[in-house]
């Protein structure tokens, strides 16, 4: 959905917009230079990213769940949802991420209203 959702002032969940970039994001299975990529490489790249995020964010508190949108469609592309056990931890992490970079790209972090990913559909 393309609606602008309300951003809660406090939430245990953070949204990091467009943070994950697949190596084959232009054409599936092919890198930016047009060379085919081994699917294992893509998986490894994803796991490295996931690990980076997890390691950085678990400093702020216990992570309940960590979701990365590994899609190629425009909608929610590369969005990372981090749900902490405590709202305070999410707030601390949000503050710590402000103005920082990941792989040369600015981190866009905000609270997200999502607290249950099974129910995370637009209403």
């Amino acid at each position: 959905c393309s609606r602008l959702h309300n951003r809660p002032t406090i939430s245990p969940t953070l949204l990091l917009s467009n943070m994950y970039q697949r190596p084959d994001m232009i054409t599936p299975g092919v890198d930016a230079q047009g060379q085919p990529i081994d699917p294992h490489k893509i998986q490894e790249h994803f796991e490295d990213f996931y690990e980076d995020i997890f390691e950085e964010l678990c400093k702020f508190g216990e992570i309940e769940s960590l979701n990365v949108c590994d899609n190629l469609a425009d909608h929610m592309i590369g969005n990372v949802y981090v749900q902490f056990k405590e709202e305070d931890h999410a707030a601390a992490a949000l503050q710590a991420l402000q103005g920082r970079f990941y792989n040369g790209r600015p981190i866009i972090a905000d609270f997200s209203p999502v607290t249950d990913f099974r129910e995370a559909t637009c209403r």
Binding site: S17, N18, Q21, P23, M25, I26, A32, E44, E47, D48, F49, E51, D52, E55, E56, D74, I77, R100, F101, Y102, N103, G104, R105, P106, I108
Partner: protein
Amino acid sequence: RSRSKSKRISGFDMAPPASAMLAGAAAAAAAGQIPGTTTM
């Protein structure tokens, strides 16, 4: 995986080149989102 964990550097705080930084900041300010550029 057998790869040593400690050898890989985290992508956190990897700053972009100055020119990309300006473009990125401008785009972020304008749209609140980063367009799909390839910086990898």
